[in-house]
């Protein structure tokens, strides 16, 4: 999933960012993959992820098509993992996001034991992924390096905004929204936790990391 590969930040900034996803190969093993993908999500939920999602329906925080106006004062900000698991109806990429290495390592080990036959990828710092593999006793099969952004980079926003917006590599979390949320947190108009949920709802496959985003926004307050 290149949408998790090119996250902006240095390796240290990925210390709380472990995206682990399962994928069936078209024509290779997708025909009977639906229950296996669901099993992947069910197991992930046991390891306290900070987000869970599939590429067709989105993550554990979703927008509402029929929002009650009173919700402005009482918005539900709880990630709903069960809806993600139950909503999976076709084979697609399924992802779990963890904010600590121990959970990611234990989950990878468990997934190896479960032997689902799906392709499993870890997207994080190079060292972080290697440590997950070592913990599970698996040699890495293939690795895809991000070389970062180049070319016409003059119009890209600040590093802080980029760290937030690139957590949806599909580009669904706009730079403008990330900037607006950063400003609102600075001005005390929203808490970091609230600002994070607004952005997470735009991510269409559930790989946005609310925990890392909250840390980045809290850094805005600390820097004041």
């Amino acid at each position: 999933m290149t949408n998790t590969l090119h996250r902006y930040g240095d390796a240290e900034s990925f210390r709380d960012d472990f995206v682990i996803f399962a994928m069936a190969c078209k024509g290779g093993n997708d025909a009977d993959s639906l229950p296996k993908l669901r099993r992947f999500l069910e197991i992930a939920a046991e390891y306290k992820p900070v987000n869970l999602g599939d590429a067709r329906h989105g993550g554990a925080l979703r927008p509402s098509k029929d929002m009650n106006p009173m919700a402005h004062w009482n918005r539900d900000m709880t990630p709903d993992f069960q809806t993600v698991i139950e909503g999976l109806d076709k084979p697609t990429t399924c992802a779990a996001v963890f904010d600590n290495k121990v959970a990611a390592e234990d989950f990878v080990k468990r997934i190896k034991e479960e032997d689902l036959g799906l392709s499993i990828n870890i997207s994080t710092s190079i060292d972080g992924a290697e440590q997950c593999c070592n913990h599970a006793g698996i040699p890495r099969h293939s690795v895809g390096y991000s070389l970062g952004f180049e070319g016409g980079t003059d119009n890209l926003p600040s590093a802080q905004v980029m760290m937030l917006s690139t957590m949806c590599g599909h580009g669904m979390v706009s730079h403008s929204l990330a900037k607006k949320m950063t400003d609102w947190v600075k001005e005390g108009r929203r808490t970091p936790a609230e600002a994070v949920t607004y952005m997470a709802r735009f991510c269409s496959c559930g790989v946005f990391n609310p925990s890392r985003a909250k840390r980045i926004l809290e850094g805005v307050i600390d820097a004041k």
């Binding site: 999933m1 290149t2 949408n3 590969l5 090119h6 996250r7 240095d10 990925f14 996803f21 994928m23 190969c25 078209k26 024509g27 290779g28 093993n29 025909a31 993959s33 929002m67 009650n68 106006p69 402005h72 990878v108 036959g117 799906l118 392709s119 499993i120 997207s123 992924a129 997950c132 593999c133 698996i138 040699p139 890495r140 099969h141 293939s142 690795v143 895809g144 390096y145 991000s146 070389l147 970062g148 180049e150 070319g151 016409g152 119009n155 890209l156 590599g169 599909h170 580009g171 669904m172 730079h175 403008s176 929204l177 607006k180 949320m181 609102w184 108009r189 709802r201 735009f202 496959c205």
Partner: protein, 280 residues
């Protein structure tokens, strides 16, 4: 995508959520309006904004009243209060915009959601990138800039000229009228998309040559480029070949996606091939 002017109350929420900054409040009609040529049909507005279905007249009146009293009502920033977004029926070639921009729509050519490629993510099943080979994903327009196919074509031409092979199961390759020269269909060239990935494969010894070529072409392009380099690890899970080349070229590698090799062919789908595992 269009915004129904009878419903829009010009709250401005959508102007911030558009990844292409293609939505603005038209000062003449006092409604949110989409710059059609800049819109990439990503549906972030339609899919991402929560929708209330309030009466537009009441909302406008309330907003006017509040404005007169200099009172700021601060609604949730991810809501369209009147559900004013209405998807257009997209026809060729505009439909290409959505295919490359709305991640929930699977690409027709590959059946894969997102940017439509499996790359090394399923390499343990496909054997797409073998030992001694390197797979490049050259992504245009990301993050939040967008790209037109004219720019992508320029890169494809340059790559084709040095004889690299384009990945067959890739949406850009499927839009080429001549794969040998990297020429894209003429009718899509001016279409703008959120991002698109050109995927090629070559031998490891050509890694530096390809990167230098990309550097050369990207100087002439306005859009931003993200390069991914995928390779097969050795039997110990190590890569002692590609990583040093990239570092020698000045890249400080921070992040990677790692395929941990648990995938395998389904015997039911591939009765013959399943006997030989590609990840062995």
């Amino acid at each position: 995508m269009r915004i129904n002017p009878d419903k829009c109350v010009a709250c401005g929420n959508c102007t911030y959520v558009c990844p292409m900054e293609a939505i603005y409040i038209d000062p003449v009609i006092k409604r949110a309006t989409i710059k059609r040529d800049e819109c990439v049909e990503c549906y972030a507005c339609f899919n991402g904004l929560s929708q209330e279905h309030l009466n537009p007249t009441i909302v406008r009146t309330t907003r006017k009243l509040f404005a007169m009293l200099r009172i700021r009502f601060e609604p949730e920033p991810d809501v369209c209060p009147t559900g004013a977004f209405e998807p257009d029926e997209l026809v060729w070639p505009r439909v290409v915009r959505r295919a490359f921009s709305d991640p929930r729509v699977p690409h027709e050519s590959t059946g894969v959601e997102g940017r439509g490629t499996e790359e090394v993510k399923t390499n343990d099943v496909t054997g797409r990138v073998k030992v001694g080979e390197v797979g490049f994903t050259i992504e245009f327009g990301r993050p939040g800039v967008g790209a037109r196919f004219t720019e992508i074509q320029e890169m494809c031409w340059a790559l084709a000229k040095v004889g690299v092979s384009f990945e067959k199961k890739n949406p850009i390759t499927s839009l080429m009228s001549d794969v040998a020269t990297g020429t894209l269909r003429e009718d899509i060239l001016n279409e703008k998309v959120m991002s698109a990935i050109v995927e090629i494969k070559t031998t490891i010894d050509r890694t530096e040559e390809i990167i230098r070529l990309v550097w050369d072409v990207e100087k002439r392009l306005k859009t931003v480029i993200a390069i991914g380099v995928g390779t097969r690890c050795d039997e110990n899970g190590e890569d002692h070949i590609v990583e040093p080349i990239l570092e020698r070229l000045g890249y400080k590698l921070q992040r990677a996606k790692t395929n941990i090799g648990l995938g395998r062919l389904s015997p039911a789908q591939n009765p013959a091939a399943a006997k030989e595992t590609v990840n062995a």
